[in-house]
């Protein structure tokens, strides 16, 4: 875990920054969705970079990160477009 500490600290900062931006754009649903897309994109890039550095990258892993990111975006879109 120690060798991943730098990665997870930066990863947490990215995620916290994304959530902060969404909260800062209260009232503007489209801007909030844009920030969620950016957050998801950062998650995919950072996650895959981690796999790349540790030589555990594969197409299966790439697809996995992309679908989890899509799940995050779809949940937010579902609430914004459907509910509010």
């Amino acid at each position: 875990m120690k060798k991943h500490l730098g990665y997870y600290v930066s990863f947490l900062l990215i995620l916290a920054g994304g959530v902060f931006l969404v909260y800062q754009s209260q009232g503007d649903k489209m801007l909030q969705l844009d920030f969620v897309i950016l957050l998801s994109l950062a998650y995919v890039v950072w996650g895959l970079l981690h796999h790349f550095v540790h030589h555990s990258m594969s197409i299966k892993v790439v697809i996995e990160y992309i679908v989890v990111a899509l799940l995050g975006i779809a949940v937010v879109f579902f609430v914004i477009n459907g509910g509010l």
Partner: protein
């Protein structure tokens, strides 16, 4: 039953050491279901608004009462609902919708004071609070009270009158939102120390309250029109905001639990497999959960 649980929710020999729920194909299926449901709910809201829609209950009467409760708690006299300030607030709301902006100052340099002047209110002091996207008057006033600048307006001893507009329309970033404009003003200098605190009245009068006569810069009071009381109230059978948020919480929590189980079990079993890091997914979905909790909360300006 136990096999079903193991297969769908835990790493098991039957699912290639990865819970079926977090296989990429299953997650993608959920993505499609969410997108489809979103469009279905959105269409249902347009055609059956009595059955499904976002619950809203904001009225000028409630906003006035809640504002004056805050002033009474601070030992300040209550504000009187003023027809000209109401007119100014409505004009400001219409201007924001027409010119597609969300700010105190318009794209052509219009200031709140222009609207107040145009409505015929000759102010000595004036102020403006804005809010959008709230579903109740209580939430709106609470948000203003939690912001030092907006709170200062509500609790200013310089104001005697207030006007509100509650309008539904399109603003930047939102095709359908409830906009609240609150305009404050006084037509003569108020000496707070000489004005005794007043208890929140049960009924609201539109006539200006007589103030101490030592005022400087006073202007002749103009006849006050009976203000139009704006109300946006919708109470559909099913609250779409509650429905979609509840579904999103349940779904995200389910995925978080399954990824956590996956992380714990694979670590304890020392399983070796080619897959993404469950801890990454866990952290990402927790941040999406935090985002989902904050969605639908209004904004103030």
């Amino acid at each position: 039953m136990r096999n079903f649980f193991s297969h769908f929710f835990t790493p098991h020999i039957s699912n290639n050491q990865r819970a079926k729920l977090i296989h990429s194909q299953t997650i993608f299926l959920f993505v499609l279901l969410l997108l489809g449901s979103s469009f279905f709910i959105s269409t249902a809201k347009q055609h059956f608004s009595q059955v499904l829609g976002a619950s809203v209950d904001i009225s000028v009467q409630d906003l006035l009462l809640l504002t004056n409760i805050q002033r009474s708690h601070a030992g300040l006299p209550v504000l009187q609902l003023n027809g000209e300030l109401t007119q100014a607030a409505e004009a400001k709301a219409q201007d924001m919708f027409a010119k597609d902006y969300w700010a105190h100052f318009g794209p052509d340099g219009e200031s709140p004071w222009d609207f107040i002047h145009a409505a015929g209110y000759n102010y000595v002091y004036a102020g403006e609070n804005l809010a959008r996207g709230f579903s109740s008057a209580q939430d709106t006033v609470n948000a203003w009270m939690n912001s030092p600048e907006h709170r200062a307006n509500i609790l200013s001893p310089n104001y005697q009158d207030v006007g509100f507009a509650v309008e539904r329309g399109r603003l930047p970033g939102d095709s359908d939102t409830i906009l609240v404009v609150q305009m404050f003003g006084s037509q003569q200098v108020v000496h707070a120390a000489q004005t005794p605190p007043v208890v929140v009245p049960q009924t609201v009068t539109t006539q200006p309250t007589p103030q101490p006569t030592q005022a400087v810069l006073s202007v002749t009071p103009t006849p006050v029109q009976s203000p139009v009381l704006g109300v946006v109230k919708e109470n559909p059978l099913f609250n779409s905001a509650f429905l979609t948020k509840s579904i999103s919480y349940i779904l995200l929590s389910l995925f978080v639990i399954v990824f956590a189980l996956d992380l714990i079990l694979t670590e304890s079993r020392k399983s070796v497999r080619l897959a993404g890091h469950s801890f990454d997914h866990l952290l990402f979905l927790l941040s999406i959960l935090a985002v989902a909790i904050g969605l639908g909360v209004g904004a103030i300006y």
